[in-house]
C-alpha cells in the first residue's frame, strides 16, 4: 500500500472546465480506503454465512460449503473489483471559478458548482481516511438539489489547499 505516494499537485487552476477534457483522478489511496470499507462491510455477512452453514449442517439440501462459497465470492467481487470500478468512475476538474465532480458506475452524475454559489466548505476525515491521509471536500450550496456536493478521496493536503483556494475566491468576489 502506497500510503505516502507522491501527492498530485493542485491542477493548473487557469484551465477552464471543459466537458470533454480528461478528468483529474483521485488519490490512489482512495481505492485502498474503499477496499477497507468494503472489507469491513463484508465481514458480518461472511460471519453470518458461517453461522448459518454451521446451524444447517446435516439438514441443508445443499452440500457443505456452497453457501459460504457464494458469500465469499460475492464479498471478493465487492472488495476487489468494485472499488477499482468506482475509483475509475470518479474524477473532478477544478478551474478558476468552478468545480466539476463526476461519479457513478451505472448511474452517472456530473455536477458543476460555481465558487460564487458556495455557502460554506467542509474538509472531513474519517478514521480510515486518516490512516490513508485522504479527505472529503464538501461544498454546500443554497440549492435544494445538490445542497451538499461531496468530493471524497482527495489527498488531505490537496483538500485543504482546494478549500483555501475556493474560500479566497468567495472572499474576493464578495468584497
Amino acid at each position: 500500500m502506497e500510503i505516502n505516494a507522491s501527492e498530485p499537485i493542485v491542477p493548473a487552476a487557469s484551465a477552464l472546465v471543459d466537458d470533454d477534457a480528461e478528468l483529474t483522478q483521485l488519490h490512489p489511496n482512495y481505492r485502498s480506503a474503499l477496499r477497507v470499507q468494503a472489507t469491513l462491510t463484508s465481514i458480518p455477512f461472511i460471519i453470518g454465512a458461517f453461522v448459518l452453514e454451521g446451524a444447517l449442517q446435516g439438514e441443508s439440501p445443499l452440500p457443505f460449503g456452497v453457501l459460504i462459497g457464494v458469500v465469499v465470492f460475492l464479498a471478493l467481487v465487492f472488495i476487489i473489483r468494485l472499488p477499482s470500478r468506482r475509483y475509475a468512475a470518479r474524477g473532478y476538474q477544478i478551474s478558476t471559478d468552478r468545480l466539476r465532480v463526476v461519479r457513478g458506475i451505472l448511474w452517472r452524475s456530473d455536477t458543476v458548482v460555481p465558487f460564487g454559489r458556495v455557502q460554506h466548505i467542509d474538509v472531513d476525515q474519517g478514521p480510515i481516511d486518516r490512516f490513508f491521509d485522504i479527505a472529503t471536500l464538501t461544498l454546500h450550496t443554497a440549492g435544494s438539489h445538490n445542497a451538499s456536493v461531496y468530493l471524497p478521496g482527495l489527498g488531505h493536503e490537496l483538500a485543504t489547499e482546494m478549500r483555501e483556494e475556493i474560500r479566497a475566491h468567495i472572499k474576493r468576489e464578495s468584497m
Binding site: 452517472r108 458543476v112 460564487g116 454559489r117 443554497a142 435544494s144
Partner: protein, 511 residues
Amino acid sequence: MSTPEPQRTAPLSVLVGTLAGLKNAIFPAAAAAFGTGLGGMGLYIGIGVGLLIAVVGGVASYISWRRLSYTIGASDIRVESGVLSRAARSVPYERIQDVSLEQKLIPRLLGLVAVKFETGAGGGEDLSLTYLTEESGEELRQLVRERRDAQDEIAPDAETGVPSPAREPEAEGEPIFAMGTGRLFQFGLFEFSLAVFAVLLGLLQYADTFIDFEIWDPDLWQGVLEEQGSTISALGPYAQIASAIGGLIALFVVGSATGMIRVFTREWDFLLERTARGFRRRRGLFTKTDVVMPIHRVQALKIGTRLIRYRFGWHNLKFVSLAQDAGSSSHDVAPFAKMDEIRTVVETAGFHLPSENADWHRASEAYRTDSMIVDSLFFVIAAIVAGTVLGIFNPDWFLLVVAILLGLAALSAGAALYSWQFKRHSLDDTQIMARAGIMSPSSQIATRTKLHSAEVAQGPIARWRGYATLHLGLAGGEFAIPGIPFERAREVRREVLETIAATDFSELETG
C-alpha cells in the same frame, strides 16, 4: 439611544390562552360527567373538572405571560421566556427575512395579532410573539424593517445603534392582483371536493367507538339495503333513474359547497400588492394572514392549472422562495387567475413569460420510446404472469384478463407518447423555462443567475440511449429537466454556468 426596555405582549393574550385552555377542558369535563353517570352528581363533577382545568389553564397562561418579555435592541430582537427554566433567544435584524402577521379567529375578535419573524432557519425554529395588539404588531414590523435597512445601509454604525433617518410609514402598495366575491365564486366552482365525505366517514368511525351502532356490521347494511332496495324497486324504473340522478346531484351540490366554503374562508379579500419592499399578500376570512415577500427573494415561478379550469383559461401562480416557512401555501400569489393577470405579476417580480418565438427544445426521441416501454412494462409483465397462471388453472378468464392488462399497457404507452409532446424547455438570455403535463400543463421559470449548481445525471438506460436529466440547484425548490439529449444537456449547463459564475451569491441577496 437609551437602553431598550423589555416589553410585554398584550395582556389580552392571557384571555386567548384561557380560551384555548377552555377548549381543551371541554372533553375531559364531558368525560368526567359521563363517566360518573349523567344523574345529578355527574353533571356537577363534570362542570367542576371543567372549571378546574380552565382555571389552571388561565393561571398558567397568566404566569407565562408575566414571564415573557421581548426587547427591541440596537442590533437584535430578544425574547426571554419560561416559567421555571428560562430561555432567551436573540435574532439579529439582518437575519430576519420576512415579518408576517397572522390572526386566528379568537385573537382577531380581540384585536390581537401573532407576529412571526422568519429567519430562514430550518425546522420551524423561528421567532414568534403571540400576541400583540394590531397597532403594536404593525409598529413592530415597521420598526424591524427600518432597523434591518439601517443595518444594511450604515453597517459601520450598527454598533452605536444610530437609527436611520426616520422613514415614512410604509405607503399603501400598488395593488397588482385581487380577487373579489365574483372571482371567488368561480374559483369555488372549480374546487369541487369530496373531502367532506372522507371527514364524515372518519366521524362515523369515531362515533362507532362511542355509540352502540355497528357501522361495519354487514347485516345492518344488508338490512338497510334490502329495505331501501325494495322501496326503490317498488317505484319502478323511472323513479329508480330519477333517484340515481338525484343522488348524483346531491353529491355534486355537497362537493361544490365544500369547495366553495374552503375557497371563501381561505381566499377571502385576497389582495396582492407591490410595496416598496416587495410583495404583500393579505387573505383569509377567519384566519387572516398578512405576508410580505421581498422581491429579491423570489427564486423562481411555478405556473400550474388543473384539468377542467384549464379549459376555461384559469391558472395559478406560485413563487419559489428562500424562506422555508409555512410550506408552499404562503407563496401562492395568484391562486386563480387569467394569463393576463399572471403576466402582470410575473413582470412585477422581474421575470417574463416565454415569448411567442421562444426557442423550445423537446425531450429526446429515444427518451420518448424508452418511457413508453418502461411505463407499459408493468402491465405487460402483469399480463404475462396472469396469462400463465390463468392459462393453467382457469382458461375461461384468460382472454378477458390478458386483454384488459394489455389494454392498460397500451394506454400507458400512449400517455407517455402524448405527454412527450408537451415536455419542453427553453433557454433565453436571463431565464430558463420548462413545461410538462398533458391535460393540465405546468411551467416553471427560473432566473439563470439564481441557480446554484448544475448536474447532468444519467442512469444505465439513459447512457446507452444518449439522453440525460439536467438538475439545476434552486433554493427552496427543485428544477429538473428529464430526458433531454446528452449534448443539449451539456450545452444548457455550460450556458447557465457562464451566467452563474459571472455574479457572486452576495450580490444576489442585496439585489
